[in-house]
Symmetry: none
Subunit: 317 residues, 2 copies
């Protein structure tokens, strides 16, 4: 029986996927020398060379590629084993205190709850809607099990992981004159009258950077951290705003608000789930987040289909 530790196997997987010992080390939070030794140990144990060392890079050998594929399969099986064991370990009970921004409460949350509540009837949910600063404070104070906020550099006492990467859309009313679902190049638009988040919001910083880097002209700017008011205002004026696609999936094809994907280049927002460092996520928290991610992925599919449909219509015209 060949006995290769999982740590070594993960090193081999990382090198295959990154094409470099150095990048694999970064990804595995290890050193290049540690990765080199792990891979060498696997090759020694197997008696097989898994990588061809080229100048400045490595390339898996045919044997290495086969080994990699089987290992990925096995590691996936082990992950699944863990998930199933936890799920089978039965009744999920207890509280779940979640902080979500309006970005998510408007269109993502309802379908997630539709599924989660029947599956976990003995979980007592507490959903708090708020903006990222307030939600972050509540997580730090242990008032929330977790929150989903825009990606930021991190804070002592919190740990985070990327949860959502979402395409930003231009939102406007009929008076702004945009064609629904048509991709827009902001630098080619006439000067915008735009509603943006306040300066404490990380998305605001990203927007400012994007505007400056890509020659987006702004005629007027209005700061508003009030989502309902923002959408109402934009819907009945010639002002525009920029919001993540997940918030406006339900506006597709409804005419009330006009949604346009931003392109050339695309603009994305990233969101992380944050939790206190000293805690681990409960089973119900992880189940909720899994369902949440699935719903976001579904929304992305809806958007992709809608945008693809628009391109087809243009081709027919």
């Amino acid at each position: 029986m060949t006995n290769i530790p999982l740590r070594q196997i993960r090193a081999v997987i990382a090198v295959c996927e990154e094409g470099s010992f150095t990048r694999a080390a970064e990804r595995e939070n290890a050193t290049q020398s540690g990765i080199s030794q792990h891979v060498a140990a696997v090759e020694r144990t197997l008696g097989v060379q898994l990588f061809e060392r080229l100048a400045g890079s490595v390339k898996p050998t045919p044997a290495g590629l086969r080994y990699y594929k089987r290992c990925v399969e096995a590691v996936g099986t082990l992950e699944h084993a863990a998930e199933e064991a936890r799920s089978l370990a039965g009744k999920v009970v207890g509280e779940l205190r979640i902080g979500l921004m309006p970005t998510f409460t408007r269109a993502v949350l309802a379908p997630v709850l539709d599924d989660f509540v029947p599956r976990c009837p003995e979980v007592r949910l507490h959903i708090v809607e708020g903006y990222s600063g307030a939600l972050t404070d509540m997580v730090l104070d242990d008032e929330l099990d977790f929150a989903v906020v825009p990606a930021f550099e991190g804070t002592i006492g919190l740990k985070s992981r990327l949860l959502v990467r979402d395409r930003e859309m231009l939102i406007s009313g009929p008076r702004a004159g945009f064609t629904p679902l048509a991709t827009v190049r902001l630098s080619e638009c006439k000067p915008l009258k735009i509603v943006v988040p306040g300066p404490d919001n990380i998305r605001r910083r990203n927007l400012d950077t994007y505007f400056q880097s890509h020659g987006v002209e702004v005629e007027a700017m209005l700061e508003m951290d009030a989502m309902i008011a923002t959408l109402e205002f934009v819907g009945r004026s010639d002002w525009v705003t920029v919001l993540p696609s997940v918030i406006s999936v339900n506006d597709i094809g409804r005419g009330e608000l006009i949604v346009n994907p931003i392109a050339e280049p695309e603009l994305h927002a990233e969101f992380v789930v944050i939790q206190p460092t000293r805690r681990t996520l409960s089973t119900q928290a992880r189940m909720f987040l899994a369902r949440f991610e699935a719903e976001v992925a579904h929304i992305h599919e809806v958007w992709d289909a809608a945008i693809a449909g628009t391109k087809k219509s243009k081709l027919r015209a």
Copy 2:
């Protein structure tokens, strides 16, 4: 990502299949306490109880059974991965010219070839048995791709790396009067009639140094660079010799030759693989050497088990 070492997973599998921590320990060549800690670590990481502790036995929980089944699947996939990688690596072609001393051709080479030849059917092997001086010359003359010889200071035109560090054993026949497998302290033996290598052999120098440094008395010394003759002679006389453990692993428990580990202090021989400076080792060469090292490691395990078994027998007596 749940990161559970394979060693722990194997412990869980063994407990499921044996229905007992104690029996699982025996099967895994571990202690009951070690198995207990492995299983506890898995349960802690998963946050799931895998076994119900009954009086006098354990029973997997439903979650434990499910986890076990998935783990068996994953471990099987990894075994398969190793097999396939080795099989695929079989497409290795070309010549391989190897120089080995009788130290290795007697017991290490055959199992290595048993594995290597089917895996590399298209490699044309040339094995040259010889003593270190001759093998070194052949490597320098590019008549060999590499040779394995006792560690030495190096030579211009050659590069070397440590390959084997092996424990030296006292080899004798029944007439010499030693108890099989009992460790011996050479300085406490009656003056030895000993067969040693010739003066050009580095191991000879090491033996001389050891004898002088540790008060080993020698009644008579015979120089012989003829391994078969040495073993035949020692087997049928009261002479002894000192040889690396890898040469005599097949003599354990067979009575024909008596093997005793040398201790207090132990004596080790180191061997290096040498190759011309201007060349790099081919794929098949490295595969052969990897398998060679693995076989030496296996032999060391066999020796460790045999010596440990002798110690247990003494405790019971």
